[in-house]
């Protein structure tokens, strides 16, 4: 199920940016994705946009999932998109996760974030969403 067009497991990079020291949520998501047949590259806490984008490119991921809890979303995502564009890597699908107010989620979508999956999103819905956005992107 969780396969991309080359019938390889969908590759997802999960990154935590910002200052908060909680990665329990991301780790649970990582396990859910693995258990549904995806390859998850986990990069650890406190990543900078530069680190996240470099890793996403080197790992050639289908999806870059960035989790934020500390309210930095409106400054972090513009940087990420700028770096992706600068490296001609804007075919990587960006998904946001974590906790944020509705108006921020709307702003992120306008910026180009494909899906905003807040903390209460059921695991099944996360898996389905990621499979869908990769299928919609098509081959590359």
């Amino acid at each position: 199920m969780a396969r991309n067009v080359m019938s390889q497991p969908i590759r997802v990079l999960l990154a935590k940016v910002g200052l908060d020291g909680h990665d329990r949520g991301v780790k649970i998501v990582a396990r859910t994705l693995r258990d549904n047949g995806m390859d998850v590259i986990y990069t650890g806490l406190h990543r900078s946009p530069e680190e996240v984008v470099t890793a996403a490119i080197q790992e050639d991921v289908d999806i870059l999932g960035v989790s934020v809890l500390s309210g930095v979303q409106l400054t972090i995502f513009p940087k990420i998109f700028h770096l992706l564009k600068e490296n001609a890597a804007d075919d990587i699908i960006v998904v946001a996760g974590g906790v944020m107010p509705d108006e921020d989620a709307i702003a992120l979508r306008k910026m180009g974030v494909r899906e905003v999956l807040l903390q209460d999103t059921p695991p099944r819905a996360i898996v389905e969403t990621l499979c869908r956005v990769v299928a919609e992107r098509g081959p590359r």
Partner: protein, 330 residues
């Protein structure tokens, strides 16, 4: 398919060191799509510059942390470094969590370092094939030293370490009272032994145990190379310079001596056989479908035996496949 760049087009960009092209070509190689073969052929002919270093050891022995520290120091000499970090896939879902980057954050944005994580995908020989293709691509992209990190638990992983010019086996204190390398059959394959976490008090014991094992077995002592045992600590930095010195000396052995020549020949042979195994398995998996059900029924009814039916299945699969790819071959 509008956005699909043919693999042969990517080769030129790989040669120019384009990170994006490198990572995409590695993905295609990993997927084993037929379209990538001619690109990989072109790549292979251009390889041979890079020093390939395999690092293996049980999970948690400190391999990724060590790679981070070693690479940081190698970078000071201006050498470009590629890293292929292989972790096992879940046998249940086929997915994997690849966490080696967590321990390599100090080199995460260095433009002279390329880190690629890879899952084993459970295919026999498949991982070896993909990892070695990735090494070739990084070689051609201008990375001077390429490190393959594998978990030393299965035969395949140990073999990958063997497929490199220089093999480092990492042991660590506190992971069981036995030296893990012995259990996994990894004692013999090391060109360099490392005991990591030497900031811990129980590391001295691991070091002496390992050294006495090596003396007993009189391993690796030739005219060209004596296997060193090096204690390291990622915390204090102890032993890192000594390790880098050993890697540099072994690079010379690998490229300039008779021993190194033999090693490179055995790597080439390994490569040939692993690739053949992987291709054979792939062909079989692709072609086997149409008779499997029929033979299963015969086996169930005991009108046939497992060996005869398996032989028939193989013969039939490969014959069918031959017929369907004839025009491609001529």
């Amino acid at each position: 398919m509008a956005n699909y760049i043919p693999s042969t087009k990517l080769v030129e960009r790989v040669c120019a060191g384009d990170m994006r092209a490198v990572s995409r070509l590695i993905s295609r190689a990993e997927a084993g799509v037929a379209e990538v073969r001619s690109a990989l052929a072109e790549i292979y002919r251009a390889t041979g510059r890079a020093h390939v270093v395999g690092i293996t050891g049980v999970p948690g022995s400190g391999k990724s942390t060590l790679v981070g520290k070693v690479v940081q120091r190698l970078r000071a000499d201006g050498r470009k470094i590629g890293i292929v970090a292989v972790d096992p896939s879940s046998p249940y879902s086929g997915g994997a969590i690849l966490g080696d980057r967590v321990r390599m954050s100090e080199i995460g944005t260095d433009p002279g370092v390329f880190i690629r994580s890879m899952a084993t995908h459970g295919a026999i020989g498949g991982m070896a094939r993909a990892a070695m293709d990735a090494v070739d691509i990084l070689d051609v992209a201008g990375y001077d030293t390429i490190i393959i990190e594998t978990v030393g638990v299965g035969q395949d992983e140990v073999e990958i370490a063997r497929a490199s010019h220089t093999t480092i086996v990492v042991s660590a204190p506190g992971l069981g009272d036995e030296i893990q390398a012995i259990k996994a059959g990894m004692l013999e394959i090391a060109d360099i032994h490392v005991v990591s976490k030497c900031d811990r008090s129980d590391a001295a014991r691991t070091l002496t145990d390992l050294k006495s094992m090596l003396v007993l077995g009189a391993l690796g002592s030739g005219d060209d190379w004596r296997v060193p045992v090096i204690g390291t600590s990622a915390i204090s930095g102890e032993g890192l310079d000594e390790l880098i010195d050993a890697i540099t000396r072994h690079r010379r052995v690998a490229f300039e001596t008779e021993l190194g020549q033999r090693r490179r020949r055995s790597v080439a042979e390994f490569r040939l056989l692993k690739t053949a195994e992987a291709l054979l398995a792939e062909r079989f998996v692709k072609a086997r479908s149409d008779r499997t059900a029929e033979y299963t029924e015969q086996l169930l009814a005991r009108t046939g035996d497992p060996y005869a039916l398996a032989c028939a299945l193989i013969d039939h699969s490969l014959k069918t496949e031959q017929g369907s790819t004839d025009d491609e071959n001529t």
